[in-house]
Symmetry: C2
Subunit: 185 residues, 2 copies
DNA sequence: CCGTTATTTCTGTAAAAAATGAAATAAATA
DNA sequence: TATTTATTTCATTTTTTACAGAAATAACGG
C-alpha cells in the first residue's frame, strides 16, 4: 500500500532532479543526496524513504544514509504522519532559509576547522625563533581575514530575513547612502 | 643546480601545507593543488615546478597539472626569472584578493551552470500544461533567489577593495545607519 | 513475547578521482 | 640541426568515495 506520489510524472521535475544531482557532484555533495533534496524540495507532500527509493531508483539503504545527511544540514526535517509509523520527510522550501542553512553548514564543516588549523600554525610559527617575518605576516593576514569575515557572518546571521533581503537588494547602493565613495560616482 | 628553498625547513610551514592540503579535500580541491597553493602562498620567492615537486614530494607531472589549475583560478601567476628558462610561479598574497578570486571561480564553475540548468527547467515547466502551480512557484522562487544574489555579487565585485573592507568591518551596523531596524535595537 | 514492518549498519563491489612514471612534445642553445 | 633541458600528455596504478544488497537492529501490533 505504498501510495505513489505523482510528482515524478512531471518532465520538468525529473529534469530538475537530474540537473540538481549532477550539480551536487560539482559542489561536493553526492548525487543521491542532491537528488533526494531536489525531490523533496519540489514535493508538496512529505515522503517516506520507500517512496523516495522508488521515485529515484536508488537503494533503500542509500536513501536512509542520505536522509540522515540532509537532516544534518537541516535542509529537510522529519514530519510525523498520524497513523503511519514510517518516517516522513519534508524539505525547507524557503530559498533564503535554505541558503542560510547551507552557508551555516559549510561554515561549520569547512571554515571553522580551517580557522582552527590556522590558529595552530600561527601559534607554532610564533614560538619558532628564526621564523621568517614575511611568512609570519602572511599567516597573520590570513588569520585576520578569517576573523573579520567570520564576525561579519555572525552578524548577518542575526539579521532578520526581511531586512537581509532589503540589504541584498540594495546592493552597492548602500555605499552611496553610507557616503562611502564608489567607482564611477 | 636546483637551488633549495629553505622555506620547507620551518615546522609551521610544513604544518600549514599539511592542514591546507587536507582542508582542500574537504573543500573539493584535491590535495596536491591545495598543498602547492599553500607552499607558494608562504614562499617569499617564486618557485619552479621542480622545486615544488621536491619540496612536497609529489610527482613532477602532478605538479604541472596542479599549477595549470591554480593558474586557471588566478591564485598563482607565472613570473619570468631573467636568465632562467624554467617557469616560475608565485601566489597572490593579498588575502582579500585571494578570496575574491576563489569566489569568482566558484561562481563561474558552480553557480552559473546551476542557474542555467534552472532556467531550462523553468522553461520546460512553463510549457507543461498540467504543471502543479506549487512546483512551478518553487522553481521560480529559486530562480529569483539566484538572480538576486547574482546581481548583488556582480555589484560587490565592482566595489574597490578598501570600501569593501569598510563595509564588511561595519557588519550589521550598516542597518542602523540605513535606518533599517534590527533585532534588539 | 512473537511476528511483522521499518530503519540502520555492515560488507563487498563498482565507479570515480587522484597521482605516478614513462613517453612524447616543445623550447632553447650550441 | 643535434642535443640538452623543460614541460605536457597519456596510460596505468592507487586511493577514495558512492552505492547496493544482505544482515542486524529497532519499533510496533497483536
Amino acid at each position: 500500500m505504498t501510495e505513489t506520489n505523482e510528482i515524478t510524472q512531471h518532465d520538468a521535475v525529473e529534469q530538475f532532479i537530474l540537473y540538481w544531482g549532477d550539480m551536487g557532484s560539482q559542489w561536493g555533495v553526492n548525487r543521491s543526496v542532491a537528488q533526494i533534496h531536489a525531490l523533496l524540495f519540489l514535493s508538496r507532500e512529505p515522503m517516506n524513504a520507500e517512496q523516495i527509493s522508488a521515485a529515484l531508483g536508488i537503494a533503500r539503504s542509500n536513501v536512509s544514509n542520505s536522509l540522515k545527511e540532509l537532516v544534518g544540514w537541516k535542509l529537510i526535517r522529519r514530519v510525523p504522519i498520524p497513523g503511519d509509523r514510517r518516517e516522513y520527510f519534508e524539505a525547507e522550501t524557503d530559498v533564503w532559509e535554505m541558503a542560510m542553512r547551507i552557508a551555516q553548514g559549510r561554515k561549520e564543516r569547512e571554515i571553522d576547522p580551517a580557522a582552527a588549523a590556522l590558529t595552530a600554525c600561527v601559534e607554532k610559527a610564533e614560538t619558532e625563533k628564526n621564523i621568517d617575518p614575511v611568512i609570519l605576516k602572511r599567516l597573520l593576514d590570513m588569520q585576520d581575514f578569517m576573523a573579520t569575515t567570520n564576525s561579519w557572518y555572525e552578524q548577518m546571521l542575526r539579521v532578520p530575513k526581511p531586512q537581509l533581503k532589503t540589504l541584498i537588494k540594495m546592493g552597492d547602493k548602500v555605499l552611496s547612502v553610507l557616503k562611502i565613495a564608489r567607482k564611477g560616482t
